[in-house]
Assembly symmetry: C2
Homo-oligomer: 199 residues x 2
DNA sequence: CCTACCGATCGGTAGG
DNA sequence: CCTACCGATCGGTAGG
């Protein structure tokens, strides 16, 4: 093989590791994601896995990035063409419910799990998780504000309060789906959203 | 020492292990709670720790029980004397917010963390966590239904829907407090509760 | 409750 | 990308 091809192969292997890492981490957590397990499942040596990242923390950061990219692909990008403000906000929330409902990852919402796992710690992984969260909330807040200033939501709506309540609806959805295995939770999520965002 | 005293001492040691285990697990998770760490922090040998429980799973189950007892002491028992129905429900929710706001455990809500950690697994620990959750929801549902049948809440309120939305408020509170370190979250939780349960 | 172990697995490195 | 290691730590046991 040419060196060019070899570089591409290496990149493909790296991607295989990350993709599997997102799935494992959604169930076992980012700490439960071990290099040995990745190596076994992908039929690589441990050194073959670790060589792509250097150390476990860098692997965890790559997995966090990949999970964010997956979420972006599944939620905001699917509603890219919906007009900004309330229509966009509603579409985002529906795509979000659908994302959780379809069990795209076996462990449910990656970021809910990672947030619960790392919220009491410090360091780059915690910062990355919190940063992704902040980015997503910023996105939502922009559309909430747009909806208020355009008159689609009443002018007395508090943007941060609404953001808080939307987050609650989604956290509860993940909780009821994953812990109680209650499939009717998504219907309750949609009903709560209708209450918050209108029909 | 008499054997009687020795038994009491052993019981005290066991309690020390469990109490420290609840604190550690609230930050590191129930899997991150290791026997070696408990031994070091309590100045015991590993065998001295493990001897009280037999194996790690039994230790985890004892810690789950103790966390449930702590929550019971801090929330439902403090509002024992409030009349059933809507007054009791409001008092329960206020005690719940206060419990999270006061950072009784350094890692925030033990059961939220444990639920996120174990929801994708199976076995006795997962069952214990899910069971405690179900018990608490049953308690809340009883007071919601009482409030509806006594006319304190409108008769068109759906008890399970309200339960879902209350859970969302609390999950969001824990999330914003722990991940974003946003101390103003408890004000938003109270505002959301007023919206759901009236002034 | 201790000391003294056990095999397994962890993250990580050296050298090719 | 591999083999062949390393020290540290894991849960757990034997024997006292």
């Amino acid at each position: 093989m040419s060196p060019r091809n070899s570089v591409r192969e290496a990149h493909r292997t790296r991607q295989r590791i990350i993709d599997r890492g997102v799935v494992i981490a959604s169930v076992e957590g980012l700490e439960g994601l071990t290099i040995g397990r990745l190596a076994t499942e992908l039929e690589l040596s441990k050194a073959g896995v670790l060589g792509h990242f250097g150390n476990k923390e860098s692997l965890q950061l790559a997995v966090v990035d990949a999970a964010a990219a997956l979420f972006a692909r599944e939620v905001p990008e699917t509603v890219r063409d919906v007009p900004p403000g309330l229509p966009h906000l509603r579409a985002l929330c529906e795509a979000w419910v659908s994302y959780l409902e379809r069990d795209v990852l076996p462990g449910g919402c990656f970021f809910t799990a990672a947030a619960a796992e790392f919220d009491g710690r410090s360091g780059p992984v915690r910062d990355a998780v919190a940063g992704m969260n902040a980015l997503w909330q910023r996105d939502l807040r922009i559309h909430i504000r747009h909806a208020i200033s355009s008159g689609d939501l009443p002018s007395n709506v508090d943007a941060d309060q609404l953001l808080y309540e939307l987050a609650g609806v989604m956290l509860a959805l993940n909780h009821f789906l994953q812990l109680q295995r209650d499939r009717s939770a998504s219907a309750r999520a949609r009903r709560a959203l209708r209450c918050l965002l209108g029909a």
